[in-house]
Amino acid sequence: MRYSIFSVLAQALQGNTGWKPVWREAELKPAYDVIIVGGGGHGLATAFYLAKEHGITNIAVLERGWLGSGNVGRNTTIIRSNYLLPGNIPFYERSMQLWESLEQDLNYNAMVSQRGVLNLYHSEAQRDAFARRGNAMRLHGVDAELLEREMVRAIVPYLDFANARFPIAGGLLQRRGGTVRHDAVAWGYARAADQRGVDLVQNCEVTGIRVEGGRVIGLDTVKGFVRAGKVGLACAGNSSRVAALAGLKLPIESHVLQAFVSEGVKPLINTVITFGAGHFYISQSDKGGLVFGGDIDGYNSYAWRGNLPMVEHVCESAMALMPMLGRLRLLRSWGGLMDMSMDGSPIIDKTPIAGLYLNAGWCYGGFKATPASGWCFAYTIARDEPHALNAAFRLDRFATGHLIDEKGAGAQPNLH
């Protein structure tokens, strides 16, 4: 069924009794041309672009739990392309362009809202760093505006501009940034992939990767063996564990990142604000809850939950930036598993095993990258070589020294 104003009206007249399930419950077939391991945003997007751009439709997406049960439904929904380094900017800008046409592409309302992303700076040195970043973005054709304090005040007057320790000096604004309804991204890609014949198989954990003569031949799963021409791994959070099934050791640690939502309030924040003096970012969902987050807890974790010291730290940052938040109650907090890579940048590449491809290491920036990640990973799988956009995201860059270290923090995953 194609969604449109007419389908909504027709359903309204039928009392909404005619809506169909959004995708089929596919049974696992014995063999596929391509199998994607991981039914999150990136895996589903990869399957969709393989079908749409490369004409490959004999595809399965295997998911251990249910579709979109991982980080695509756990993030703070922010999209932006305000990066500094040459390997990153064109990739994230492609992602932004794909976000802008996503809903028409998928025929699905993902509530893409370009409400702007405002990064605050608090010192002269930080202003210089942001001016440099903004210039790098504009040289790559990405929109960026450097704002002085009064220009920031006109947008978000309720911040603590006179904070004694971290007074707000201005901001770097990317107006095309914003937020997206994150679950709808997974559902939209799933539906669009399903319509092109992709089998979406849930509750199907992969337990082994079979390799013969240096080439992947198939996967052992809890639903039995399935033969595969090519296999793409897109299981961030658990990338190390899945890659280990093929004997690969990755430059990745799994860490836990917490996110938070307050009780719902009337419209308050009409953009995305990031604090420049601490790791803190906040926006408001369409339901009214303030959605915010901070840094990773900082130690290896597969526990899907964090600890209280980081909750306190994030709330302190919130109070330093926006003291009125102290009157709000925290409604929920939750944790997700991050593939923290050794240079803070992702990997979309072939592996030393023929026919096995890797999409991993998203740190906590994976959501905004979803469309471009799927697009580039599909290209890499279909053509057996990376596209220019993901040419820098190589698996062997750690051996060759071509790191993409946006923060300059070195090989210390918990500092990225």
Binding site: K249, L250, N300, F398, P413
Partner: protein, 97 residues
């Protein structure tokens, strides 16, 4: 998470700084000699590659807001349960033996 420091007793983990996997070993070698391929690979392993297990994980923590000692903590990363704490010096000496 509370870490039972060998010198200070149980303290909240916010008193400690985390370094990471304690099982990686810095390669030995003569710094004046160029690296051969195997040694090069050992350095890449040491600096960048991690087992990243889902289960008991031996890791280095420093009690920065206490005695400043380095500790090797064995922690189940699926549950955050701390299974064992040893002084890092003792672990290093045992490994050197």
């Amino acid at each position: 998470m509370r870490i039972d420091c060998c010198y200070c007793g149980p303290r909240g983990h916010e008193e400690f700084a985390y370094l990471g996997d304690a099982t990686v070993a810095r390669p030995n070698g003569d710094p004046k000699r160029p690296l051969d391929d195997a040694e090069w690979q050992r350095w890449i392993d040491y600096v960048y590659l991690r087992d990243n297990p889902a289960g008991p994980h031996r890791e280095l923590w420093q009690h920065v807001a206490g005695c400043r000692a380095w500790l090797v903590v064995t922690r189940d990363v699926r549950t955050h349960a701390i299974l064992n704490v040893e002084p890092a010096r003792q672990v290093a000496l045992a490994r050197a033996r």
